[in-house]
């Protein structure tokens, strides 16, 4: 894999249980996904801010067949587009309800970031979210 500090620092955050959002040291703009130059002011001085982890679910799907190689054992699994309260958004995995399905989920429900173990992130470095009222 090529040298990519932006990707590696973001993933290291996930492995520590932190969802990071890139923050421009010059204009203060938040960038998601993280960029190699600030898309707002083109600065290359870029740092990180820990996200609140709170957001709303713009859309989601439960994939039931046709998983990419390496994801077959995960089926079924759910993906969602989450809009964070900081004003940036990202694609995430969604934690199932207690019954193993995703019945409590709907567009525009509140969702929150769920830290995963470092081992799990080393294997699949995705951010996980769950429906705020689903435990």
């Amino acid at each position: 894999m090529s040298h990519n500090p932006i990707r590696d620092e973001f993933r290291a955050g996930l492995a520590r249980g932190e969802l990071l959002v890139q923050k421009c040291n010059d204009c203060g703009g938040l960038n998601m996904y993280p960029r190699h130059a600030c898309p707002h002011c083109q600065s290359s001085s870029l740092g990180w801010q820990k996200a609140s982890g709170r957001g709303v679910l713009h859309s989601f799907t439960v994939l039931r067949m046709g998983a990419p190689i390496g994801f077959e054992a995960d089926l079924p699994y759910a993906l969602g587009v989450v809009k964070l309260e900081e004003g940036v958004q990202l694609l995430t995995r969604l934690v199932p309800d207690a019954n193993g399905d995703w019945d409590s989920y709907a567009c525009d429900v509140p969702v929150e970031y769920v830290p995963m173990s470092g081992d799990s992130i080393a294997c699949q470095s995705a951010a996980w979210f769950r429906h705020t009222s689903s435990k």
Partner: protein, 409 residues
């Protein structure tokens, strides 16, 4: 940034770029055909339709395939110049690529070359072997291309899931029922019954059948997902002056175009129920002076029903939020108010990769030339709206095409 882009040519300009011929091979599973053979055959079909031979062509534009990197490289390195006997004659041969919207951009590029004088006659070629390709390779390809490796591949995203994310948001935002969504697929299948080149010719479909098929990626059912197909299409563009000089009395000009790139990563689209369609349509209508009411037919990229429903709303064919219900009303069906995707579209003619949009474009040109055959030719067609989109529905591209004929008919 400029909000308007006035065209530098009009219908009276000698260098106005025009379509003069199209070619197509049947879409579906054809293990007995092969890539270079199909490209050669379809190119010759388009040239014959334009009353031309290969030596009338000075530039070949290639539309990429997604089935093989080696085949792609062959095209890039001018293989078709050899195959068509154009060594030493051809000025240039190269590829343009924006995924599913490539055909729209190929038209823009060919038009620019012709209008500026860098090309006189451009042959655009496309062939895809998705239907006969190895299934595992295709699954891998459809979970890598158009998906950012650093940020989204680790989630297990693939293309039906992308379609499902758009569909879920669209159904939520517009309160469209599963029946309304399925009706889009049924309209396309109705058109495919009139197209012997379509993968699903002779295989009618009902809303009940769509909703009874298994769920692949909620809320999408299997029959709401496109079937990968082999296929090939080609078209020829030249200047209006050259077309007239060659005695052609019917051609199709580009009255305007508009586009909007709204994201690259599906997770970065601000509104999955809108995408870039309203902006692209506004830009195209402003350039041409047209409105949605000025066309008699439309050919809109249709890998998933929601993608097409969102497009027809952005293009102003119906009120906002009414796209799927507009299809359910029969407006886009054979005999409807605004026939759409008259070849059956990608969902029923077959998803030929980057070529799906090219097949829709070619169908629009064919209808305008009056060559769609007795079964599906829409009578009195003068204007067609073409809509395309590429990758994870990253862009919306609109072409406004118009028939030009001797005596104005």
């Amino acid at each position: 940034m400029a909000d308007t882009w006035p065209l530098n040519v009009d219908a009276k300009s000698p260098n106005d770029p025009v379509f003069i011929g199209v070619g197509e091979l049947p879409s579906g599973r054809y293990p007995d055909r092969n890539f270079i053979g199909d490209l050669t055959r379809v190119g010759l079909l388009a040239l014959a339709d334009a009353k031309m031979v290969p030596r009338d062509v000075d530039t070949i534009l290639l539309i990429p395939n997604l089935h093989s990197a080696v085949d792609q490289a062959d095209l890039i390195f001018s293989r078709m110049a050899e195959e068509l006997g154009l060594i030493g004659h051809l000025k240039s041969s190269f590829m343009v690529h924006s995924g599913g919207s490539t055909s729209d951009n190929a038209v823009r590029l060919a038009s620019g070359l012709i209008a500026s004088g860098h090309a006189r006659t451009v042959l655009v070629l496309q062939c895809e072997r998705w239907g006969s390709a190895d299934v595992n390779e295709m699954v891998t390809m459809l979970s890598k291309y158009g998906i950012p490796g650093e940020w989204e591949m680790p989630t297990g995203l693939q293309f039906n899931a992308i379609g499902a994310l758009i569909t879920r948001r669209y159904m939520h935002a517009t309160q469209s029922s599963p029946e309304a969504m399925a009706s889009v697929c049924v309209t396309l299948r109705n058109w495919a019954q009139l197209n012997p080149n379509a993968m699903y010719y002779g295989k009618p479909l009902t809303v009940e059948k769509v909703l009874a098929s298994k769920v692949v990626a909620e809320p999408l059912h299997a029959l709401e997902c496109p079937m990968l197909a082999d296929g090939a299409v080609a078209f020829v563009m030249t200047s209006a002056e050259n077309a007239k000089k060659r005695g052609l009395d019917t051609m199709v000009r580009v009255a305007g175009s508009g586009g909007c790139v709204s994201h690259y990563s599906i997770g970065q689209e601000p509104d999955l129920a809108a995408l870039g369609w309203a902006t692209a349509a506004k830009r195209a209508y402003e350039q041409s002076g047209w409105g949605p009411e000025d066309a008699q037919i439309a050919q809109i990229y249709d890998t998933y029903a929601a993608v097409t429903a969102i497009a027809v709303e952005g293009l102003g064919f119906c009120e906002p939020s009414e796209g799927a219900r507009w299809f359910a009303s029969g407006a886009a069906d054979p005999g409807g108010k605004l026939p759409c995707n008259t070849n059956g579209g990608m969902l029923s003619a077959g998803h030929t990769g980057v070529g799906g949009g090219t097949a829709l474009l070619v169908e629009g040109v064919r209808q305008l030339l009056g060559r769609a055959g007795s079964q599906r030719q829409v009578p009195g067609v003068q204007r067609c709206i073409v809509g395309g989109t590429g990758g994870s529905y990253m862009d919306a591209q609109v072409l406004l095409l118009e028939r030009v004929a001797k005596g104005g008919k």
